[in-house]
Amino acid sequence: MVDIHTHILPFVDDGSDSFNDSCRMIEEELAMGVENIILTPHVLRVGMPRLTKQEYLDFFISFKTEIQKNYKVNLYLGQEIAYHPQIIKYLQDDQLLTINNTPYLLLELPFFEPIKDYDELFYSCAVLNYKIIIAHIERYHYLTYSDVLSFKKYPILYQINSNSLTGESGRKLKKLSFRMIKDGLVDLVGSDVHACRTNDLALAYQTVALNFSDDEAKRLFIHNPRKLFDIK
């Protein structure tokens, strides 16, 4: 399996404050049968440290070498990019990281209010040859279901969180994520794991396999991430 949305990289966001916490999270992933992990620390989020692209890369390389001494796991780097009014400028100047050097970037919309012009954002990313994956699409309470449907006219992908699927985040989000999978809107599932949250990606896989089909679970958890992010 592939976990495409994690906050395991330590010291760069609110995900993990110590190397030991990160090791524990990786052990949990391995126990669930996840051998490919994409690290997606928060960027451009208010209250998070502002690091340069090179600093993220340096952190990642030192963390990866340290981890691979003890564990047999493949790590890849991405970023969970929070929406920012200047985001297009940052993308144009190549200041942000995409997932594993593919054109795909994980975008987090604001949690409390909608942004002014979705059309402009999706257009600009398409012109700059970036492909958007909206992180945990089920969690933005201001987006109606018809909004979610209408965004699909743009070339964008949706990711949902595993704890929404398992019911950890409430019945409402579980119902919504099931409806999205049923309508064929969801492309990827990630755990969005922080040190303080439990990782239930394996349970989410079983939930999808049980309620939909094995093929659907394989598509969401294995085939899509491998295909999109160039993972062997």
Partner: protein, 242 residues
């Protein structure tokens, strides 16, 4: 609802504006041909002093101002002139959408002093240059009244043969009247199937009161009745090889 049904539901992919410059994409069409008359008409509107800074405006939104402005710019560049298309609609900019650019480093960024003249003017695949609107600002009319904007137009006059200004609608905001003071002439666009007579009259009255010269009216979205007039269809097929 499955995805294949959804894709049928939404035919456009969010990049549909890219084919709006008909003069470049379909040069043989009647639509393109009608744009080619505009430089001639403009030339004879003022014989001694040919207008070089041309404002494109209309009474309301959605009257095809930007499409017309881009096509006029394409026609002038087709004739071998150096043309720049400036997006003066700082509230709802569209020029970058039509020319396939990203709306960064634009007019507002230049006027508030963030970027220099070189980064401001961008080349396009259509052989004319573009200045896009840039980041949104709280008071566009204040920026458009500034001396720096006047200086920019003066500088563009030196560097380019024709400067096409795509302006916001007249009845909704005052920006077009402010820009009207520095342009040589203006073209008034009327969407034939949408705009009411009263709105058009009111907008033209506003322009006359502010002493903005109107070179003529451009009818967009014309009804079939007018399009058939003069049998242009026959004309095209008789005189074209394609």
């Amino acid at each position: 609802m499955k995805m294949n049904k959804l894709t049928k539901l939404f035919k456009n992919n969010g990049l549909e504006d890219n084919n709006s410059i008909i003069v470049a994409t379909k040069p043989d069409s009647i639509y393109a041909e009608s744009f080619r008359k505009i430089p001639i008409n403009l030339k004879y509107s003022k014989i001694d002093d040919e207008p070089r800074v041309i404002q494109i405006t209309s009474s309301l939104a959605g009257e095809h101002k930007t499409t017309s402005a881009a096509n006029i710019a394409a026609v002038y560049s087709e004739l071998g002139h150096k043309v720049v298309l400036v997006d003066c609609d700082l509230r709802k900019p569209r020029v970058h959408r039509i020319t396939g650019l990203v709306n960064t480093d634009g007019l507002t960024n230049y006027l508030v002093g963030n970027i220099d003249y070189k980064t401001l003017v961008k080349p396009t695949k259509y052989n004319f240059a573009v200045i896009n609107a840039g980041d949104s600002v709280p008071f566009p009319h204040v920026i458009l009244r500034s001396e720096k904007f006047k200086d920019l137009i003066a500088k563009l006059r030196q560097d380019y043969d024709y400067i096409i200004l795509d302006c916001p609608p007249l009845l909704l905001v005052t920006d077009s009247l402010i820009i009207g003071e520095i342009c040589d002439t203006s073209i008034f666009v009327i969407n034939q199937r949408m705009t009411k007579k009263s709105a058009t009259k009111e907008a033209i009255r506003l322009m006359r009161e502010s002493n903005i010269p109107i070179a003529g009216i451009l009818l967009s979205n014309t009804s079939k009745k007018i399009r058939k007039y003069g049998k242009y269809h026959t004309y095209k097929y008789t005189y074209s090889n394609k």
